[in-house]
Symmetry: C2
Subunit: 343 residues, 2 copies
């Protein structure tokens, strides 16, 4: 039940993080704005890598910063790190303990680059390598599957974007705790959908743009907690090959947030639901998408740039209930530890 | 049978490309060396995106160039491209026709950045946006699933790396046609392994470092041609969560090439084969890895940096035979077109 209670803590985590991080992030944004860099190189693994996927869209679209995701083995096993001229080096890690991520930041430091760590452990070895640290302030997380630390990472990424750019309407973030409460209020619907899909052995998970991150994180949660094979795709990548796997009854989970990519997602949903007879589950804040799907979970009407936060909370609840219906230990999945140390 | 015959053409394609591209790539490398850039931004989709994954390791490790993979929707649907100061913009596409990739190169051009296209169609709209073009010279490809165009892209990426850096032993590339012939000579073994795994509905595909690309491309081929759900992972990412899906009998396909990451792969193979009783299929040029697996396909002893080429040829043959055993149309998989145009 720890996973479920940590999902439920999220509105409170957001209220606290919005309050305690406003001033430090404003100060940090001032320091970052004064730096010279052409792009950000982000090192992250697992759930934190999905927060990096969110930054890849948000920081690029709102702040003009291109994002490269690091290949940590170049810095560790191969001992052949690239030249980092022009890079702001960023590490994202809940625990701040994975040696390969620490190695990327250490190399950035050695090459004299500015280093930012985004972590729930501001005294961790990862944070020690950084000259700028964002404490995501999620509080201690006990369930092995990350929930509140993921959304707190997204919130930190979003708050930094807003602090860096006066065009980003940062005040929209203050609505998040309430919107997430409204998602949690749909739990009965979500539980019923999970029961309807309880027999699934594998599925595809679709999202694009800002919610590319949501597709990846939803698929990761489903695999960690329910042992169902789940593969995330952008709608574009799905069309470039994997769409061939969609046969009648195949479960396709999708996030269809209002925004410039909504029509593209609607078209694909129509194809796979009507022509291929896939079993589609859609999380959306638009009625057309909910009507198109076999199973529907409504999301609150929020601007697309913050939609990954309520969307993943709905996905976390779906995953938790799917695991519970299957009779699994949702707090301690087999084969996983809370802190994963890869080299 | 077109897919099978195009797999078989690869040694000849490599011989031709090595001959016709040596001089143009040497000249191109001179131009690129004279440019000022901090990193390469690569735009690609589907199979070509896996060639970009190879470049992400090779160009970083051998040429010191960090790689960012573009998010094309920022340039199209969102109309919010990032600032590209410091970028060499690269497009990789077999057909050179996908509008979203063309948009990334067009934006790079607008921002005054140097543009490189790597394509099998040097007169394509993608190539028109570039000031430097590499013709991968694979010849016309008729089967929907890309085989020889993928390896010709890898070869172009490798030849450019060698031309840019005198430390990269480019002469090692000349051995590739012969090594790929030796892979094709193991076709009976590969066919037998495909028959043993013909019942699989889903699988994980593991590779790391240079062969991260191989894992992704193998999984994509399996999905396109056999409709088996296949999910690629680096060994590190697999440990950060998805390892939970490995239950007894679960098929795990892996590439274990000799190199600094070999021991890491061996350890994971031991875990999933012995402790989790997964059905492991390993492609490797080291006997220990072949002995550890339930099913084994030997690869030739080549330096790790070029190992993705013979490795994917073995994977292509496996995929072709799996599709043929299942009685599928391996030349024209359902739901796919040769040229995919995404926006």
């Amino acid at each position: 039940m720890t996973m479920r209670s940590e999902i439920g803590e999220q509105p409170e985590v957001f209220r606290r993080a919005l309050a305690v991080n406003e001033e430090p992030l404003s100060e940090l944004a001032g320091r970052i704005s004064a730096l010279q860099f052409d792009y950000a190189l982000i090192a992250a693994r697992g759930t934190s890598d999905n927060a990096a996927r969110y930054a890849k869209y948000l920081w690029a679209a709102h702040n003009g910063i291109p994002i490269a995701l690091a290949a940590p083995s170049l810095f560790t096993s191969y001992q052949r790190p690239p030249r980092l001229d022009g890079a702001l080096v960023v590490g994202i890690s809940q625990s701040g303990e994975s040696p390969d991520l620490i190695a990327v930041l250490a190399e950035g430091r050695k090459q004299g680059r500015p280093i930012l760590a985004i972590t729930n452990e501001p005294e961790s070895p990862l944070a020690e390598q950084a000259d700028m640290v964002i404490d995501i302030a999620a509080g201690e997380e006990l369930a092995v599957a990350a929930t509140k630390t993921y959304t707190a990472q997204l919130l930190a990424v979003a708050m930094l974007s807003a602090a860096l750019d006066s065009e980003t309407p940062g005040e929209e973030l203050s609505s998040l705790p309430g919107h997430v409460e409204s998602v949690i209020a749909t739990e009965d619907t979500i539980n019923a959908v999970a029961a309807d899909l309880a027999d699934m052995r594998s599925c595809a998970v679709l999202g694009r743009g800002y919610n590319h991150s949501t597709a990846y994180e939803w698929a990761l949660k489903v695999q960690e907690v329910t042992y169902v094979l789940a593969h995330p795709y952008s709608t574009a990548d799905f069309r470039h090959g994997p769409i061939a796997v969609a046969e009648p009854g195949f479960p396709i989970l999708a996030v269809a947030a209002d925004g410039p990519l909504f029509d593209d997602m609607m078209q694909l949903l129509g194809e796979v639901t009507r022509e291929k007879h896939a079993r589609t589950l859609v999380l959306s804040n638009r009625a057309e998408a909910l009507a198109e799907a076999r199973f529907a979970v409504p999301l609150p009407a929020v601007p697309e740039w913050i939609s990954p936060i309520p969307a993943i909370v709905a996905a976390q609840l779906f995953t938790y209930h799917l695991g519970a219906i299957k009779g699994l230990d949702t707090d301690q999945p087999r084969g996983l530890n809370k802190v994963t140390r890869t080299t």
